[in-house]
């Protein structure tokens, strides 16, 4: 009996020692992953990337790179992209680089994650100014470290390029597959790759479409408000236990709602960020109050209310 058990343990040990790095990575995760065989892109996300890239090229910063962070579901051997979070107006970008506004993206990520618990970061899409359809060596140096923080230790990376001048391109109203890992929309090409921890280069990844929304679409039109208030919102979310944020409709207007529970007195502060203004409310088990705080920096306003509550 004992000998059999020792044999079994030795077998298990041997399997661990000879297993490939990919298998070892999967063992380290809560879920088991295989390398990604294909990526499904929700139609809404495809629309966001196409229209966002086109709008960017029509704008003042058209010569800069731009990008979107991609969230979705990571399943055993595939990824499903369901949300594209913009890099933001406050991104740091030039014709040869783009660094996303991660502070605003982090809040968007928190809201999305609260709405759909299964969402994970899958990778990102960014553009290149020329026709270089593959991620650059500079991209690789950053991404090969970054993928360690992604589920399955593997990321999905899209590259956008301009293939031809618009005037010489026959206009199409639909996306066309040009290879298993790329599609064109008129003169724009969208090429897709994966990168797994330990890889020496990106690999082409097959893409497929699926019907579905861009789950981050509710933020469109409100991104500038989020970016303007991101620092204050993040300060509250990280410092006030139990605080949370979402986008709600208040009197027909979209508002970022920041909610902070209080212990003494027991209740909750709600701050509605509406464009330039912030409205504050307090609610206990018996009554709701409008709070007269002339402070449009939401973190300062919340702390002023907390200080006032402390006197009560």
């Amino acid at each position: 009996m004992m000998i059999q058990k020792i044999k079994l343990l030795l077998n298990e040990l041997q399997q661990l020692l000879v297993s490939s790095p990919r298998q070892e990575l999967a063992l380290g995760d809560q879920k088991e992953y295989s390398p990604i065989r294909f990526v499904r892109i929700a139609s809404g996300v495809g629309q966001t990337l196409v229209s966002g890239y086109m709008e960017h090229l029509a704008g003042d910063r058209k010569n800069e790179e731009i990008g979107w962070l991609l969230l979705g579901f990571r399943e055993k051997d595939k990824a499903i992209i369901l949300a594209a979070i913009p890099s933001g107006e406050s991104r740091d970008a030039s014709s040869v680089h783009v660094k996303f506004n991660s502070q605003a993206q982090a809040i968007a990520g928190r809201i999305l994650k609260k709405r759909e618990k299964r969402l994970e970061v899958l990778g990102l899409f960014h553009t290149h100014p020329g026709k270089m359809r593959r991620p650059s060596s500079g991209d690789f140096r950053g991404d090969i470290e970054w993928v360690k923080s992604i589920s399955g230790r593997q990321g999905v990376f899209g590259i956008g390029t301009i293939e031809n001048a618009p005037e010489i391109y026959e206009k199409s109203h639909v996306a066309n597959f040009v290879s298993s890992n790329a599609f064109d929309w008129n003169n724009l090409r969208f090429s897709w790759y994966s990168l797994l921890q330990g890889d020496t280069d990106y690999k082409n990844v097959k893409i497929r479409w699926t019907l579905g929304p861009d789950l981050a679409d509710f933020l469109s039109g409100h991104w500038s408000i989020l970016e303007k208030n991101a620092e204050g919102i993040e300060r509250i979310l990280s410092q006030q236990n139990g605080s949370t944020c979402d986008v709600i409709s208040y009197q027909g207007e979209k508002a970022f709602c920041l909610l902070v529970p209080t212990t003494y007195p027991k209740g909750v502060i709600r701050a509605f960020i509406l464009g330039e203004n912030v409205k504050y409310f307090f609610e206990n088990s018996e009554q709701q109050f409008a709070i007269d705080v002339q402070e449009n920096n939401v973190d300062r306003g919340i702390y002023l209310v907390l200080a006032e509550l402390g006197k009560k």
Binding site: E65, F100, K113, K114, V121, R141, G142, V268, Q288, D292
Partner: protein
């Protein structure tokens, strides 16, 4: 600092905003039955997402 009890119209607007949010399946710390506050819990998986977002490298 003035804590003024909400009047009926203001209370209606606040409840409406919170209830709509809750009925859309996106409750923000709200009990959908009476809009009272329900504490949320911090999730490790949320922190993983935030960490991944914050560590996105520069792209070239």
């Amino acid at each position: 600092m003035d804590f003024r009890p909400l009047n009926d119209e203001e209370r209606k607007n606040l409840y409406e905003a919170l209830r709509n949010n809750s009925e859309l399946g996106k409750p923000i710390g709200v009990n959908p039955k009476d809009t009272s506050f329900v504490a949320g819990e911090a999730k490790n998986s949320e922190q993983d997402v935030i960490n991944a977002i914050r560590s996105v490298p520069c792209h070239y």
